[in-house]
């Protein structure tokens, strides 16, 4: 029975294409805007996750605040890092950050590259292309082994061969290659997640730091759920160690992505509000056109009643017309919104981050269905009631 009413409603709406189209324009735009921003939001947080995807979520970095009176006292030395590692619970590994530039040679190839200290638990989660990561024993033994990143590999081994077992020369020293990293999944934004040549951090400290201060320290925690406590404890330990008014900042993947998410959530909220206002206006538009439609079709309603339609049937008919209209409007809005959101994602965010976010179908469909229901209930009921209440004799006389 309902199916027949939907068919009847479609017949009426298709018979009045222009009026039907004008009725739903506002709804289409409103729903499309909300869903587009929704899709874009997913794309953005996906892009942020993608950019930061190379960063291990078990790692955090500590560095002294640059603008402080006691900047030189606050500066970190390798021994400070070692001491904090022993003092603070939940820290699995700690190394100096940053790298140092040196000329690196393999056969005839030679390039200036950044060398950094690596641990057995890698800071980045970039997968390995060849070989393996640096091992515990090599760190303990201050071994001369290296893991090379993708760009360094492409520069030093242009023929693309597996270089594991070969060695590179840095000044007087030789390092045996044990692994090669793959491309990091960060898209075109050149985040220096992997410097060029990773060597055991113990070797790095001995060969290249030699008691100098470092830019900062990177820590790996055993239990990622206690990340914040560990960061706070690390800072407290450093302050105690330096015995003075020194200040340190910590930084992890979560702080970065939540900062970006926060900005975007604010933006989403504003656009959603604008969308909601647009939808209310669209709803009132539907109400208005439905009322006009009822007035315009007074005679038709009279005929339908004379033929034997009950109040309930007339009510149902107009209600279903409103429902079908808003369903079509919201369906179109859904399609356009996803198309627009996806296109912008594809053109901008995916190129930027190299990360393809899944389209949030479920949420988008929920939004569209929700709005269709709401608009129908709020703005379709009253015109339908007006139509049902018409007196057939009056309605038939209506010119």
């Amino acid at each position: 029975m309902i199916g027949a009413f939907v068919g009847e409603a479609l017949g009426v709406l298709l018979g009045n294409r222009l009026r039907s189209a004008l009725t739903i324009v506002g709804l289409v735009i409103g729903v499309a805007a909300v869903i587009a921003i929704q899709t874009l939001g997913k794309g953005t947080s996906g892009a942020v996750a993608g950019i930061l995807g190379g960063l291990s979520d078990a790692a955090f970095t500590v560095f002294p605040n640059n603008f402080q009176a006691a900047a030189s006292r606050a500066a970190l030395r390798p021994q400070d890092i070692e001491r904090v590692k022993r003092l603070v619970p939940n820290i699995a590994e700690a190394v100096p950050t940053g790298g140092i530039a040196r000329q690196v040679r393999v056969g005839h190839e030679s390039a200036r590259m950044l060398i950094y200290g690596e641990t057995s638990i890698r800071f980045s989660n970039t997968p390995l292309r060849y070989g393996r990561a640096i091992g515990e024993d090599e760190i303990a033994a201050l071994a001369h082994v290296a893991v090379i990143a993708d760009r360094a590999y492409a520069r030093l081994f242009p023929d693309g061969r597996n270089p594991v077992g070969e060695s590179i020369r840095v000044g007087e020293r030789r390092y045996v290659i044990v692994g090669v990293l793959d491309k990091p999944r960060t898209g075109v934004i050149p985040l220096p997640l992997n410097l060029d040549i990773g060597i055991p951090y113990t070797t790095y400290v001995k060969e290249y730091i030699r008691g100098k201060t470092v830019f900062g320290a990177r820590f790996i925690v055993s239990d990622t759920s206690k990340m914040q406590e560990t960061e706070a404890a690390t800072v407290r330990a450093l302050v105690a160690l330096k015995r003075g008014k020194v200040a340190y900042q910590t930084f992890d993947r979560r702080t970065f992505s939540s900062a970006i998410d926060g900005i975007f959530n604010g933006l989403t909220f504003v656009v959603a509000m604008i969308g909601a206002v647009a939808l209310v206006v669209a709803g009132i538009g539907i109400l208005n056109i439905m009322l006009v439609s009822v007035a315009e079709r007074t005679r038709e309603i009279g005929v339908r009643k004379a033929i034997g339609a009950t109040r309930g049937q007339i009510l149902l008919q107009f209600f279903i017309e409103a429902l079908v209209l808003s369903a079509i409007g919201c369906g179109l809005g859904l399609a356009i919104g996803i198309a627009v959101g996806w296109t912008i994602n594809d053109l901008v965010l995916v190129r930027l981050s190299g990360f393809v976010a899944p389209i949030p179908w479920l949420q988008s469909v929920a939004i569209a269905v929700g709005f269709a229901t709401l608009v129908t209930l709020l703005f379709g009921t009253y015109p339908a009631y007006r139509a049902a209440r018409l007196d057939p004799i009056e309605a038939l006389r209506y010119e």
Binding site: A4, V12, R304, G308, G312
Partner: protein, 249 residues
């Protein structure tokens, strides 16, 4: 004779306009047997529209008893009246009152839609009924693509598709020229010969001469009710060449 198609006893209708009570019908009694062809006549203000609305179950009498096809419908509620209209009455209006943007087929099928008949059966019945009025080749046309006479024939098909006890026509040729009027009268003649009960409300003397019986109203009362001995018999082709209508009286 079993039950009459229509039995009116002391039908009174009083409209209240503010403080003033205006009687439109002041005790109308008559009986229309099944298969009759009756013209209800009267000048404007005579109460014939009110009577038409009451017979058509669009309104309830203030007093009196109305039995339609054996069922007392004087005091039914709106929904029950709608059900009666759906089952037992077919309306033909002066202005055709077809749904403008809907095909002839869907227009004719409309009563069956409200009766809850499935689409396939609706379409089949509507096609059959359109063929009956000579429009078998016009089923997919919209009202604007049809002549006045054809539109009224679509309206007649719609009125008959639910096989009503009574066909009620309100000035059915008021918007048509005399030749087309004659065509419509031929359709009515054909239907009446097939046993259909027809009540036609009109102020047009010529038109009323087609009916077998004439009831005249004035000031809300029946002033005359008599058979029509020298009636006009419309001759014409009413059903696309398959059924020829001939005046044989």
């Amino acid at each position: 004779m079993s039950e009459a198609a229509i039995e009116l006893e002391g039908i009174t209708k009083i409209y209240t306009m503010g403080q003033v009570e205006v009687p439109a019908l002041r005790g109308v009694d008559f009986r229309i047997e099944r298969g009759e062809y009756v013209a209800v006549m009267g000048p404007s203000g005579s109460g014939k529209s009110t009577l038409m609305n009451l017979i058509g179950c669009l309104d309830r009498p203030t007093a009196g008893r109305y039995r339609l096809d054996g069922e007392d419908v004087s005091s039914l509620d709106d929904d029950a009246l709608a059900a009666i209209r759906l089952k037992k009455l077919g309306f033909v209006f002066q202005g055709f009152n077809l749904l403008a943007r809907t095909t002839a087929l869907r227009n004719v099928a409309l009563p069956l839609f409200y009766a809850g008949v499935p689409q396939r059966a609706r379409d089949a019945a509507a096609r059959k009924q359109l063929a009956e009025v000579g429009l078998a080749d016009r089923v997919e046309h919209r009202p604007a693509e049809l002549s006045g006479g054809q539109q009224q024939r679509v309206a007649i098909a719609r009125a008959l598709v639910n096989d009503p006890a009574v066909l009620l026509a309100d000035e059915p040729t008021g918007n048509l020229d005399s030749q087309t009027s004659e065509e419509i009268m031929a359709v009515f003649e054909h239907l009446n010969r097939g046993g259909r009960t027809i009540i036609m409300v009109t102020h047009d003397e010529t038109l009323a001469r087609h009916a077998r019986r004439r009831i005249r109203l004035r000031d809300g009362l029946v002033t005359s009710d008599e058979p029509n001995p020298d009636r006009l018999v419309a001759e014409g082709e009413a059903s696309g060449g398959t059924t020829q209508l001939h005046g044989t009286f």
